[in-house]
């Protein structure tokens, strides 16, 4: 089956000469949650803007649900719900009016039951007659999500859904996205927060300077690039790393109270047991051990750094 979104050779050069996208290829499968990670100015928002019809591509082609975004823009756009990064709302309008307008804009017949369901799911039902300017920032973002969901899209774009949102609301948002996935909606989200991608995404794409550097299954990515750090808490502090431990390339931490050893979980021999044996042989006592999996954030930072070094 064809992918719900097919992006081939997408480029964007702004009139200023700035190249925001350098030939991006990406396929998104129906029903998945795809997280697009990247630093500021990487091209995340530009890419979403082109797919949704807000910006024009300089080259390449995109189809959404089989519809070309230029030739058959009606078909493509009908399938998309967009929640942009900026909080842009009709301040003086009531919640229910602005959400109903969105449904009409997308050519869908009036359906009060659906609007009610969307508003209830987003805890906006009690506020439906409130003017948007009376709502808090978090509530306004919910209104924008309600607008995007009002026309029953197959694909939902969330551009930095939790930027500037407090921790509690972020949790709520994650829960909501989880629920949306149950209904079969494909979700593409961009984020700075790696933990967000780690928490929710099925697949992760890393974009930097207009190039898609990597697209991978999240668990595979974590496994592949995943390193673990073993921390050995010593019984008595030592002044320097004994020369006998040079083979493991350990570092001393916490004023000589800890030894840290980084190992590859995929290697045949991780070196953990031999290190511990060696410590025993050397008579270095330890009272605790712990290991830590590197997060997407570590992976991301190392990827972006590699790029900079190259």
């Amino acid at each position: 089956m064809a992918s719900i979104i097919e992006i081939d050779g997408l480029t964007k050069i702004y009139p200023s000469g700035f190249t925001a996208l350098k030939g991006v290829d990406l396929h998104i499968e129906e029903g998945e949650i795809f997280a697009l990670l990247g630093p500021n100015g990487a091209g995340k928002t530009t890419m979403i803007s082109i797919i949704c019809g807000i910006a024009r591509a300089s080259g390449g082609r995109v189809t959404v649900a089989g519809h070309d975004i230029v030739r058959d823009y009606r078909g493509a756009r009908s399938a998309i719900g967009l929640v942009p990064q900026e909080l842009s709302t009709d301040q003086f309008e009531r919640v229910i009016d602005t959400v109903s307008l969105s449904r009409g804009l997308f050519g869908k017949p009036r359906n009060d039951a659906h609007i009610e369901k969307v508003l209830r799911d987003l805890s906006l039902w009690d506020k439906r007659h409130a003017k948007i300017l009376e709502l808090s920032g978090g509530m306004k973002r919910r209104v924008m999500i309600a607008k995007a969901l009002s026309h029953e899209p197959r694909v939902l774009f969330l551009d930095e859904p939790t930027a500037g949102v407090d921790v509690e609301l972020r949790r709520d948002m994650w829960k909501l996205i989880g629920e949306l996935r149950q209904t079969g909606v494909t979700i593409i989200l961009t984020t700075h927060y790696i933990e967000e991608a780690e928490e929710m995404a099925d697949r992760v794409g890393v974009i930097n300077k207009g190039e898609l550097m990597l697209v991978e299954d999240k668990t595979a990515l974590m496994k592949k690039l995943g390193k673990k750090t073993l921390t050995v808490v010593l019984a008595d502090p030592i002044g320097a790393v004994p020369p006998d431990l040079a083979e493991w390339n350990v570092t001393l931490g916490a004023d000589g109270h800890e030894i840290e050893y980084i190992f590859d979980t995929q290697a045949d021999r991780t070196g953990v047991s031999s290190l511990l044996r060696k410590l025993g042989d050397l008579g270095i006592g330890y009272k605790d051990l712990n290991t830590r999996q590197s997060s997407l954030e570590d992976i991301f930072v190392s990827l972006v750094h590699q790029e900079k070094a190259a």
């Binding site: 702004y14 803007s49 949704c52 019809g53 807000i54 910006a55 024009r56 823009y73 009606r74 078909g75 493509a76 756009r77 009908s78 998309i80 967009l82 942009p84 900026e86 842009s88 709302t89 009709d90 301040q91 003086f92 309008e93 009016d97 109903s100 307008l101 969105s102 449904r103 009409g104 804009l105 997308f106 050519g107 869908k108 017949p109 607008k147």
Partner: protein, 256 residues
Amino acid sequence: MSLQNFRAIASIYKFELHRFRRTWLTGLLVPVITTSLYFVVFGGAIGSRMTEVEGIPYAAFIVPGLIMMAMFTESIFNASFGIYMPKFTGTIYELLSAPISATETVIAYVGAAATKSLIVGIIIFLTAHLFVDVPVAHPLAMAGFMLLIAVSFCLFGFILGVWAQSFEQLQVIPLLLIMPMTFLGGAFYSVHMLAEPWRTITLFNPIVYLISGFRWTFFGKGDVGIEFSLIFVAGMLAVCIGVIGWMFRTGYRLKK
């Protein structure tokens, strides 16, 4: 031309009229008060000392000009604001990402603004009746002319709203160009009352033809022939439609 999404047209039209309803008091009371003031000043105080203009009492003579003046302002203001505000607040993202064509967008926004402008025109017409007897020689032509003017100036306002990048730019054309042109376009006098060379110079002002045409529908005569007036209205419509077509084709100030 691409017309399919009638629900979108209806939704925008309804939403925009709703926006007007929110401010109906100022929206409708202001034209009534302004018109009344013009009648007190021009019709009562000054008009009583003036003779008839081409056989028409002065107070009645200025009615078509007053209606036109208000409709020019209303049309430009409403249509330019209607599209400028979404640009300003950022809500335009939704319009751009919706399955709606350029033609549908323009019909919805211009239709809503023209509706309000027509309502204002009719209110002024009715208010004028409280002060003077205003004969209407060609009622159908009058209604048609009002409609054409409302649509043309709303299209013009739409262009202005897309073009403007600040509130100042939004104001500058109506205040510095349209308003003086209207005052000098024979809203309160007949071009024949001017001495040469002003009479000839005035004929370069397109507003003269619009006001004259509208006056013709009331009194059966204008400063210039009705056919010239119709040519000017048609020309303005064509130019505005052409410019809007170009704006959407190139994405001018709408799409990045």
